[in-house]
C-alpha cells in the first residue's frame, strides 16, 4: 500500500532522512526550504540590501544552495544581491565540466557569475603546483589556496558576505576530526554558523543543519543539474576516518549527525586554556592565527623552489619556515608584485593581539616621526618608503616568532 504524505495526504514518495517522516515531493521541497529559511532568520545571517557571493563549485551542495537562496530571496524578500563565485584551480579537465555546470546555473538561475583563477590570485595553477611537488601533498595546497581564493575573489567582487554549501555532514565530520587531533581552537570554531566576522569577510553556512542526503534528494527531485566532483587529486587526508566513522554511526542511529553538531555546540572550553589568537597574515592580510599565513608560506616555498615549505608536520618546522620567511621578507616584498600596500595590512585590526597592536603602534609612530606618509590605496606601486615598512615588518615577524616560541598555544596551523 502506498504511504500517504504526512502533511497533505497525497502519495508520499520519500522518507526524510532527517526525521523519518514520509512526505510527497511538494511537501518535502517546502520543508527543506523552510528549514533553511529558519536557519537564516534564527542566525540573522543577512541584512537587507547586502551583496552575497555564493561559493559555486558546480557540485551538489553549492548548486542546491544557489537555487534555494534564489527562491528564498524572492519568497521572503531578503532583498539580497546574489552572485555566483567560482574558483578555477587550473586543473586540466577537472574544472571544465564543473565550470560548465556553474555556467549553466548562471543562465538557469539568472545569477551573475564570476570565475577567478588560481593563476590570477597566486600566479600558479594547480597543475603547475603538482608538477613541482608531485601528487602527494597537493590537497594541502588546493585546500589552503581555495579557502583564501574564495575570500580574495569575493573581495574583488566587493561583496558583503560569502555563503558556502557546507552541510550538517561536513560540520559533524569536522567536529569529530578536531576531537581526534586534539585541536581545541578549531573544535570551538567549527560549529559556528558564521565565521570570520572580524577582519575578514563573513562566511555563512545556511546548510549547517541540512543533511547531505536531503540535499541530494532535493537536487534529484528538483532535477537540478550538478557536476559530481571529487577532487581528482584524491585526498587521503584523515577526514576520511571521521567520515567513515560517522557513516557507521548513522547506521546505528540516524540522528547521529545532528547529535554530533549538538555536542560540538555545547562544548565549553576551560577559561584557562589559551585559544589561538586569530590575527591577520602580515604578508597578505588574510585571517591567520600565525604571523604569516599558510598560503603565503606555501607560495613562498613554490616561488623559492622549496615546495615542501608549509606542509611540514611539526610546529618546530613551521616556526623555522616562518622565520625563514621573516628573514626573506625584506627582499620578497620588494620583488613580489603585492596587490596592496603592506602598511594596509599592518593597520591595527580589532582582532589583533595586544602584542601585535603594540608592534603596530610603534610602527606607526616610526612612520609619523620620520614624516613619511604611507599610501592607503590598493595599488601595486606603493609610493611609501619600502625600506622603513619592510624593516618593521621583518622585526614584527621575528619578534612574533619569538613570542610563539614562548607561548606554544598560539601556534595553530
Amino acid at each position: 500500500m502506498p504511504l500517504a504524505c504526512g502533511l497533505c495526504d497525497k502519495q508520499a514518495i520519500l522518507k526524510r532522512p532527517k526525521t523519518g517522516d514520509a512526505l510527497c515531493k511538494e511537501c518535502f521541497f517546502l520543508a527543506f526550504e523552510e528549514e533553511v529559511h529558519q536557519t537564516i532568520t534564527d542566525a540573522s545571517l543577512f541584512i537587507k540590501g547586502e551583496t552575497v557571493a555564493i561559493g559555486a563549485s558546480g557540485g551538489k551542495d553549492s548548486t542546491v544552495l544557489a537555487y534555494v537562496m534564489k527562491i528564498l530571496n524572492e519568497r521572503y524578500d531578503y532583498n539580497l544581491n546574489l552572485v555566483l563565485l567560482s574558483i578555477d584551480e587550473g586543473i586540466t579537465g577537472y574544472r571544465d565540466d564543473s565550470l560548465e555546470s556553474v555556467k549553466r546555473n548562471e543562465i538557469q538561475y539568472g545569477l551573475p557569475l564570476k570565475i577567478v583563477s588560481y593563476e590570477e590570485l597566486y600566479g600558479w595553477t594547480m597543475d603547475a603546483i603538482v608538477k613541482q611537488i608531485g601528487l602527494k601533498n597537493n590537497c594541502t595546497f588546493c585546500g589552503v589556496f581555495r579557502r583564501q581564493a574564495l575570500d580574495r575573489g569575493a573581495l574583488m567582487l566587493k561583496v558583503d558576505k560569502i555563503v558556502t554549501g557546507h552541510n550538517a555532514d561536513d560540520v559533524a565530520e569536522t567536529v569529530i576530526m578536531n576531537v581526534l587531533r586534539g585541536d581545541i581552537g578549531r573544535l570551538r570554531r567549527c560549529t559556528a554558523i558564521t565565521t570570520g566576522t572580524d577582519g575578514a569577510l563573513p562566511r555563512c553556512k545556511p546548510f549547517k543543519y541540512t543533511y547531505e542526503k536531503e540535499i541530494v534528494m532535493y537536487a534529484y527531485f528538483r532535477k537540478l543539474d550538478y557536476f559530481s566532483t571529487e577532487c581528482i587529486y584524491s585526498p587521503n587526508a584523515y577526514r576520511g576516518f571521521a567520515r567513515a566513522y560517522i557513516k557507521d554511526l548513522e547506521k546505528i542511529r540516524p540522528s547521529a549527525i545532528i547529535d554530533i553538531i549538538h555536542s560540538g555546540e555545547s562544548l565549553s572550553v576551560k577559561k584557562e586554556v589559551k585559544m589561538p589568537v586569530q590575527g591577520v597574515c602580515v604578508r597578505c592580510g588574510y585571517i591567520s592565527s600565525n604571523t604569516v599565513c599558510k598560503a603565503c608560506i606555501m607560495l613562498e616555498g613554490l616561488n623559492k623552489g622549496l615546495p615542501r615549505l608549509g606542509i611540514g608536520k611539526t610546529h618546530k618546522e613551521r616556526l623555522k619556515m616562518a622565520e625563514q620567511i621573516g628573514e626573506k621578507e625584506d627582499s620578497s616584498i620588494n620583488s613580489q608584485n603585492l596587490k596592496s600596500c603592506v602598511s594596509d595590512h599592518f593597520r591595527p585590526k580589532s582582532n589583533s593581539t595586544s602584542f601585535e597592536k603594540n608592534q603596530l603602534d610603534s610602527f606607526w609612530v616610526q612612520i609619523s616621526q620620520s614624516g613619511q606618509s604611507c599610501c592607503k590605496s590598493n595599488t601595486v606601486g606603493c609610493s611609501c618608503q619600502r625600506s622603513v615598512v619592510c624593516k618593521d615588518v621583518t622585526a614584527g615577524i621575528q619578534s612574533s616568532v619569538e613570542q610563539q616560541k614562548i607561548n606554544s598555544s598560539v601556534i595553530d596551523f
Binding site: 526525521t19 585546500g143 573544535l187 566513522y245 542511529r253 554530533i260
Partner: protein, 516 residues
C-alpha cells in the same frame, strides 16, 4: 572541487613504526627491556613497576583531593582496569611501601546480569567470584544489582554501618543450592534489612577486619529466612521492571547509555549512605578516550569533560575519581600480566555483537583501530578533553533529572536542538501520540491538598514533562520509550519536584524580580 578544507591535511598522528622492545634496553637502568610504553620509552620489569606505581600515586596525590583516612568506594567491574586499580591500591596501602596511600577503601561490585539476561546461576557465579576477590582484600565490600537503581528509595533509606555489603544479585534465589560460603552472605541479612521493607537484596557480610566474618551466622540466617522469602517477590519485580525498561528503549546504544547512568546513580547512592565521600572508577585512558568520542556521538558533548576528568563533581555529596586516566590499556594489561592480577569475564550487551552493535562498541573499535596505526590517537582525544570545561564553576546550573549533568537543552536558536525540533514540526502535522495521550491523561489529580503530600493518586508524568527535565543525551536514550512510568523512580520523583516548582513559580511570578 576539492572537498578538503584548510587544515584537513595536517597529519596529527604519526604512523606507528614497528617498535618492538626486542633488542632494546631500559631507558632507566639499561636492563633488557620488556616493553615500550606510549612515547617509545623502553622499560625493564622493575622500572616499569616503579613507573606505573609512581604514575598512580602522582595522579591520586597531585590534586590533594583524597585526604588521609578518607573513606573511598572503589568500583570494581571485574575487568582488567578495575582489577589493576584494586591491586595498585592494595600495594599502595601495604606497609612496605614507603609512600603509603592513606585513604580507607571499600569495594563495590554491581551485578548487571539482568541487563544481559544472564541466567541466575551465572549471575550467582559471577557474584561469588567477585565476592571472593573482594573478601580476600579484607576491605569492606558491597554488592549491588543494577535493578536496585530503579528504586533508589531503598538505597537512600538504608542506613547501615559502612562495612556492610549488599549482595543484590539473585544469590537468595539459589538458597537451596548455594554452598556454605554464599549462605553466609545471607546470614546477616536481618541486620541489614531490619529497616528495609521492600528490598530483600540488602544484606550484609561482615568482612571487615574488626569483625571477623561469620559470627553467629546460623542464628541470624534462620531468622532472616522468612524475610528473604517475602521480599523475594519484590526483587523479582525490580528485575522484570529493569528488563522491561531496557527492552522498550529499543536500541542497544540507548540501553548502554541508560545502564551507565543507573550504574553511576547506584554508586553515588551507596557512597552517600555508607559514608564514602569519594568513588574511584577504574577507567583507563584508552577507555576514557572511547567515552569521550562516544559522548560526542550521542549528543553528550557538553558532558564529555565531566565524563573523562579526574575529579567528577557532578553528584551532590560524592566525588568520582578516575585515577587510571593516565594509563593506556596496554600498560594495564602489562601490569596485570606481570603481577598475576586476574580479571573476571563479565558479558556485556555487546560482548557477542559486531562492531555496529552499539555506538559505544563501534567507537571502541574505531579508536582502538586508529590507535594501532596512529599511537597518538588516544592522547590526542584526551588532550581535547583536558581543555574542555566541566562546568563545575558555574553556579545555579540546572541538572538533568536522570544523569545529573548540567542541562544542555536550554539553548537559543540557531542550534542543532532547535533545528531538529523545527524539522519535526514542519514535516509532520504535530498530532503525534504524545500529545494525544496527554490530553486524556490529566496531571495534577490529588486529594485536594494540592501539594502532592497525600500521595493518594500518584499522578502520571507526561513524556513532555519528563523530557523537559532531561539533557539532550538522556532524551535521545529514552526517545523510543513508550511509557515514562517505566523509568527509575528517582527520575520520576525529580520530574514531579520540578513540575511542582514550576507551578509554584508561576503562582508567584508577578512578584519575582529579574535578577539576571
Amino acid at each position: 572541487m576539492c572537498s578538503v578544507e584548510e587544515g584537513d591535511t595536517d597529519v596529527p598522528f604519526s604512523k606507528s613504526r614497528p617498535n618492538e622492545s626486542i633488542g632494546r634496553t631500559c631507558m632507566k637502568c639499561q636492563e633488557k627491556a620488556i616493553l615500550i610504553t606510549r612515547v617509545n620509552d623502553a622499560f625493564c620489569r622493575s622500572c616499569f613497576m616503579v613507573y606505573i606505581t609512581h604514575k598512580f600515586r602522582a595522579t591520586v596525590g597531585k590534586t590533594k583531593l583524597v585526604r588521609d583516612g578518607e573513606m573511598v568506594l572503589v568500583a570494581l567491574s571485574g575487568g582488567p582496569s578495575s582489577s589493576a586499580l584494586l591491586h595498585l591500591i592494595q600495594e599502595g596501602l601495604s606497609e612496605r611501601t614507603h609512600k603509603k596511600l592513606r585513604f580507607r577503601p571499600g569495594l563495590i561490585f554491581i551485578d548487571e546480569g539482568a541487563a544481559v539476561n544472564l541466567p541466575s546461576s551465572e549471575r550467582l557465579n559471577t557474584c561469588e567470584k567477585m565476592l571472593e576477590i573482594m573478601k580476600s582484600t579484607g576491605f569492606p565490600c558491597h554488592i549491588k544489582a543494577l535493578e536496585q537503581g530503579l528504586d533508589n528509595d531503598n538505597i537512600q533509606e538504608f542506613s547501615s554501618p559502612p562495612d556492610i555489603c549488599c549482595p543484590g544479585s539473585r544469590l537468595e534465589k539459589e538458597l537451596g543450592t548455594i554452598d556454605y560460603d554464599t549462605e553466609s552472605i545471607l546470614s546477616d541479612i536481618s541486620t541489614a534489612t531490619s529497616s528495609v521493607t521492600l528490598d530483600m537484596s540488602e544484606c550484609s557480610i561482615s568482612s571487615s577486619i574488626e569483625e571477623p566474618y561469620g559470627n553467629s551466622r546460623e542464628a541470624i540466617a534462620v531468622s532472616s529466612m522468612s524475610r528473604v522469602e517475602s521480599s523475594f517477590q519484590k526483587y523479582e519485580e525490580a528485575e522484570e521492571k529493569l528488563k522491561c525498561l531496557l527492552k522498550s528503549l529499543n536500541s542497544v546504544s540507548s540501553q548502554e547509555d541508560l545502564i551507565r547512568t543507573i550504574r553511576h546513580k547506584i554508586l553515588s547512592e551507596v557512597a552517600t549512605t555508607c559514608g564514602y565521600s569519594k568513588v574511584m572508577l577504574g577507567s583507563c585512558g584508552t577507555r576514557l578516550a572511547v567515552t569521550l568520542l562516544t559522548d560526542m556521538a550521542i549528543g553528550r558533548g557538553g558532558q564529555a569533560a565531566v565524563d573523562t576528568v579526574f575529579a567528577d563533581r557532578r553528584y551532590k555529596n560524592v566525588m568520582f575519581l578516575r585515577p587510571l586516566r593516565e594509563f593506556s590499556s596496554k600498560e594495564i594489561g602489562m601490569y596485570n600480566a606481570l603481577n598475576d592480577v586476574e580479571s573476571v569475564f563479565i558479558p556485556t550487551l555487546t560482548t557477542k555483537g559486531s562492531d555496529g552493535a552499539s555506538i559505544e562498541h563501534l567507537t571502541e573499535a574505531f579508536v582502538t583501530g586508529l590507535q594501532r596505526d596512529y599511537p597518538s590517537t588516544v592522547s590526542n582525544i584526551m588532550r581535547t578533553g583536558e581543555k574542555l570545561s566541566t562546568g563545575a564553576e558555574e553556579e545555579n546550573k540546572e541538572n538533568c533529572a536522570m544523569c545529573q549533568s548540567s542541562l544542555d537543552t536550554n539553548v537559543i536558536a540557531p542550534s542543532a536542538l532547535n533545528a531538529v525540533e523545527f524539522s519535526q514540526r514542519i514535516s509532520s502535522r504535530g498530532d503525534n501520540s504524545d500529545s494525544k495521550r496527554d490530553h486524556c491523561n490529566k496531571t495534577g489529580e490529588c486529594c485536594g491538598e494540592g501539594d502532592g503530600s497525600c500521595n493518594s493518586t500518584r499522578t502520571r508524568a507526561t513524556k513532555q514533562q519528563v523530557l523537559a527535565s532531561l539533557c539532550y543525551g538522556c532524551r535521545l536514550a529514552i526517545r523510543k520509550l513508550d511509557d515514562v512510568e517505566k523509568l527509575p523512580l528517582y527520575v520520576l520523583k525529580d520530574v514531579f519536584w520540578r513540575v511542582r516548582r514550576e507551578k509554584m513559580k508561576s503562582e508567584i511570578e508577578e512578584f519575582l524580580l529579574d535578577t539576571s
